[in-house]
């Protein structure tokens, strides 16, 4: 079920502002790809273009091609709603639905896709997804409590459970740990390690150690200056990127010598 992604010559705009320019890269199935780079270089923008979440911002659009196992995500006969059902997303700030219980949060996507299902099947999905997100043991006795009653780290894992409940083919994560404490961060990193056996994962992070720990491939983005579009500088296997980058800018950024 995990699929590969091929991005070619992607230009991304917010209205008249070109935020990202000429991005080309590929993501292997069942791997973790980390997008790193300074703030404002377009990491989130690139990520959101992969599941067509970019265009929900008024005036925002993208040019270029994004292929999911060879199928054009931006094809004229493609419904963005279906793309988002296939490519799940986890946001920077945990955003469980506050009016829903823990259980209903997990089932939210599933109910959209297939309406009512037998209760037993629903319960199986809840347990499987929460176990998949390493949250089951902590919440199994209070599935009917509001999602907002959990700690930040638990909320983020609930969001991951919600995303994997619909068995997506790709999982996008935008700085999923940046609002979390170190222990919750470790819990999520462990989880990513497990999830990559089944999903293709693309993760944005501003934390170099995290990129080094969890990813197989690392992509470094940079921008020439304020108001200039961000570009992909270099992409390579993570060990290579961190030990032996080909670009000076990459080395400067990774070694913290970034100006």
């Amino acid at each position: 079920m995990a699929k590969r992604i091929d991005v070619t010559d992607l230009d991304i705009y917010y209205g008249a502002f070109k935020a990202v320019e000429g991005v080309t890269f590929s993501v292997e199935p069942r791997s973790v790809t980390a997008l790193i780079g300074p703030s404002g270089c377009g990491k989130s923008t690139v990520l959101r273009t992969l599941n067509r979440m970019h265009e929900v911002i008024p005036g925002a659009y993208a040019d270029g091609s994004v292929l999911l196992d060879g199928e054009d995500v931006y094809g004229s006969d493609v419904d963005p709603v279906n793309v988002r059902r296939t490519i799940g997303m986890v946001f920077q700030r945990p955003n469980p639905f506050p009016t829903m219980s823990i259980k209903d949060n997990v089932l939210a996507g599933l109910k959209l896709q297939s309406g009512r299902r037998p209760k037993s099947e629903m319960e199986t999905v809840v347990e499987r997804s929460l176990r998949g997100a390493n949250l089951w043991d902590e919440v199994k006795d209070r599935l009917d409590r509001p999602g907002a009653s959990l700690s930040g780290g638990q909320q983020q894992r609930l969001c991951i459970a919600r995303a994997i409940a619909v068995e997506p083919q790709v999982l996008l994560m935008d700085e999923p740990c940046s609002a979390l404490d170190p222990i919750s961060t470790l819990a999520i990193e462990d989880l990513i390690e497990e999830l990559k056996e089944r999903y293709t994962i693309v993760i944005v992070t501003h934390n170099m150690q995290q990129a080094a720990r969890v990813s197989d491939t690392t992509a470094f983005f940079n921008l020439a200056g304020v108001g200039k579009p961000g570009r992909l500088i270099e992409i390579a296997a993570t060990q290579v990127m961190f030990s032996n980058p080909t670009q000076q800018a990459t080395e400067d950024y990774i070694s913290g010598r970034f100006g």
Binding site: N82, R84, R85, F91, F97, P98, A108, L112, A148, A163
Partner: protein, 330 residues
């Protein structure tokens, strides 16, 4: 700037530390607490004063009344013996307000939703402006427009209801006269409370956090599914209070209803026929010609209206509080 010129090593003169003991007197805080507490008390006192006035002034009438105040559908307080009761008022008020709510809530929410999340920015601001303008039209204008212009245009609706739904007594109209009916008054009320409902719901709709909207969209929700998943749950308390404000206005609306309805004092369940009367319009119509007991009787009916509106508001609050835990306010 002498301090910056001191040679390094010279210890800075010790600043006396305030310590942690002692209750600090913060003037602004105390002023604010005092003001808000005072405002709260003032509102309670005003409410109590109104209630006391209503009760006090209604006692003579209620004592003189020889009929059951709640179940009688007649209004002859100044006769001997005095006979009056609010049954017709309760019926007419709840029916007109109910019809108004039935029409205005869905339409108002629909307009608000369209303005907040579907229309282009240009169209949205125009529409918002127009609905706000509607709220500024005085009710006497609505009343005149309703009786002169709208009533003739609603005959067709009344006939249609009679032809197709006439088997339901509510819509039957054997008389064939369709003016000055509870339905027409309800429709005018609906138009009057529409801007209140749509303006407030629009405000809460646009406050829905971006994070909730994106969470729904990223799960593959269509626009309408997103509205149901993220916007409606978040806005529920606001939608309820908007509706209650509208209901409050519909229950208390006086002059437009007085113009729209015939001044007969009866219960007519055929809502497309002439007839019906409400608390507020009855008071307005009868006040000037009422005697001592008549005035007291009208005040007593006002007391009931006061209690009904209070009850409606408290019920709304209960609904909101019941699921506060899930409200997203945390």
């Amino acid at each position: 700037m002498s301090t910056t010129l001191e040679p390094p090593g010279t210890p800075a003169p010790p600043v006396p530390h305030p310590g942690i003991k002692g209750a600090a007197v913060r003037r602004g805080d105390r002023l604010f607490v005092g003001l808000s507490r005072g405002a709260g008390v003032l509102i309670l006192v005003t409410m109590a004063a109104i209630a006391v006035f209503l009760i006090w002034k209604s006692i003579p009438g209620l004592q003189a009344n020889t009929a059951n105040f709640f179940t009688t559908a007649e209004w002859f307080p100044d006769q001997k013996p005095s006979v009056f009761g609010i049954a017709a008022l309760t019926f007419g008020t709840l029916m007109t307000a109910g019809i108004a709510m039935l029409l205005a809530v869905p339409v108002g929410v629909g307009i608000a939703l369209f303005i907040a999340h579907y229309a282009s920015r240009r169209l949205a601001s125009t529409l918002g402006f127009v609905t706000d303008l509607l709220a500024a039209v005085p009710s006497i204008i609505f009343g005149m427009w309703g009786i002169q212009y709208l009533t003739p245009h609603l005959v067709g609706l009344g006939q249609w209801l009679n032809d197709y739904l006439g088997f339901i007594p509510l819509f039957a109209n054997e008389a064939g006269i369709y003016s000055r009916s509870i339905l027409n008054a309800g429709i005018v009320l609906a138009i009057m409370i529409l801007p209140t409902i749509s303006a407030i719901t629009r405000e809460v709709f646009v406050q829905t956090p971006r994070a909730h909207i994106e969470a729904a969209l990223a799960l593959g929700a269509t626009r309408w599914e997103m509205v149901r998943m993220a916007i409606f749950p978040f806005s529920r308390p606001g939608m309820i209070s908007a509706s209650m404000l509208g209901l409050g206005r519909a229950l208390g609306e006086t002059i437009a209803v007085a113009l729209m309805l015939s001044a007969t004092y009866d219960i007519n369940i055929h809502i497309t026929q002439p007839g019906g009367i409400t608390f507020a319009s009855n008071i307005a119509l009868k006040w000037n010609e009422a005697g001592t007991i008549g005035l007291s009787a009208l005040v007593a009916s006002g007391l009931v209206l006061f209690v009904i509106t209070l009850a409606v508001n408290m019920a709304a609050r209960l609904v909101i509080a019941r699921r506060a835990e899930f409200s997203g306010a945390n």
